[in-house]
Symmetry: C2
Subunit: 202 residues, 2 copies
DNA sequence: GCCTAATCGGATCCATAGTCCCGTTAGGAT
DNA sequence: ATCCTAACGGGACTATGGATCCGATTAGGC
């Protein structure tokens, strides 16, 4: 017998799409407000105004729902800065990360997403895809900087972008240091220093 | 009426200490093997050979148990390196972090601990205490380096140590990049570049 | 308009986290 | 050596809510 197709794949448009949107929105709300361990598919169905059975059939597990949410978020990647200098572009990136992580809703959401990725393999893979997209988008800033001669040739663009975010996430997840504009500017300056020292070669 | 003391505080020695040790060991095992979301107090009691009631009475919640485990781990901090050069000390630190995070048991354990900190406030505070202890221990390497003139005066020792770990944890939690000796050496070199550029002033 | 993919509501199952009770053990002070 | 009681142990019990199943209903897409 032929394997039955996953529900939602044969008629992806219309109602199916609306249900997915509502469920993902509800999932984001719950994650931001209560965290991953409180993510209950029945509650998602309720607050999304969707049948409980539907949610269980489509996603099966909280981890899969988070994975789908992450893939959805990856598609809506914000455009990178183009100030004309790597210095300013990286600072803009760092400030955006700080703004995101300190935003009451977004900050909690990202924490929950990371928690989910640590509890579920599907969510983990989706999280990696998400950050790959984000980093690729901003890597253009570094490539431009290399072309302008602001950074040494051979610099790995994605490495530099990752170096901007790394200390900010470390503060968020490990040490609990405050995340403010000063921390953002320092992170950007640090990533630049690494690149200029030629340590960010791929 | 006077508030009853927390169980285990009046007679902390002997049996009470043995029970705590067994429970913490079992908790570490479960966290490493199954992750935080699978941490069940009843299972802890079983695999620790301890009464279920005791575990519930002493810790009450999985998050509190993780917090206690983290405090216990903080007390057993490993001594830092003293090679005579910051360069080598930081590389030793980076390699230790990589070794820890890639170790089959330790790596999973740390992921679970971070997941716990993202789901429970008590665990979160304990995690911060843990990293504060670790960072303070290794900050001595940087202080020695400053005294030897290898790094600029005014460099923030803890900042530098955090800068070594940050990209490694970012690879572990966010991007999923491979963690190997090359990554460790790069992290150490990057932290040095930041410090030498004078960006790591506290 | 037809066929059926996909949804809805809700009844139902059932695993299990957490509580309670009370008897037993052993810490530690005298 | 003895006593008092802090702390532990075992097991029965309960109730919560995660997950499944069912038949009816709605609407996608050719």
């Amino acid at each position: 017998m032929a394997t039955a197709p996953q529900p939602g794949t044969v008629r992806p448009g219309g109602r199916t799409a609306r249900v997915r949107e509502a469920a993902l929105r509800a999932a984001g709300d719950v994650l931001a407000e209560k965290g991953f361990d409180a993510l209950d598919l029945a509650e998602i169905a309720r607050s999304a105004g969707v049948g409980k059975t539907t949610v269980y059939r489509r996603w099966r597990t909280p981890g899969a729902l988070v994975a789908d949410l992450l893939d959805d978020m990856a598609e809506q990647s914000l455009p990178r800065a183009r100030t004309g200098s790597v210095d300013d572009d990286l600072r803009a990136n760092a400030r955006l990360v700080v703004k995101t992580l300190t935003d009451p809703r977004q900050g909690r959401l990202f924490k929950a997403l990371i928690a989910a990725s640590l509890c579920d393999d599907h969510a983990a893979q989706a999280l990696r895809r998400f950050y790959a997209v984000r980093i690729d988008e901003w890597a253009g800033c570094v490539m431009d900087g290399i072309e302008r001669g602001e950074l040494p040739a051979g610099t790995d663009p994605r490495r530099v972008i990752a170096d901007v975010s790394a200390p900010l996430y470390y503060a968020l997840l490990n040490t609990g240091e405050p995340l403010d504009d000063a921390a953002a500017d320092r992170a950007a300056a640090a990533a630049l220093a690494i690149a200029r020292a030629g340590v960010a070669t791929g």
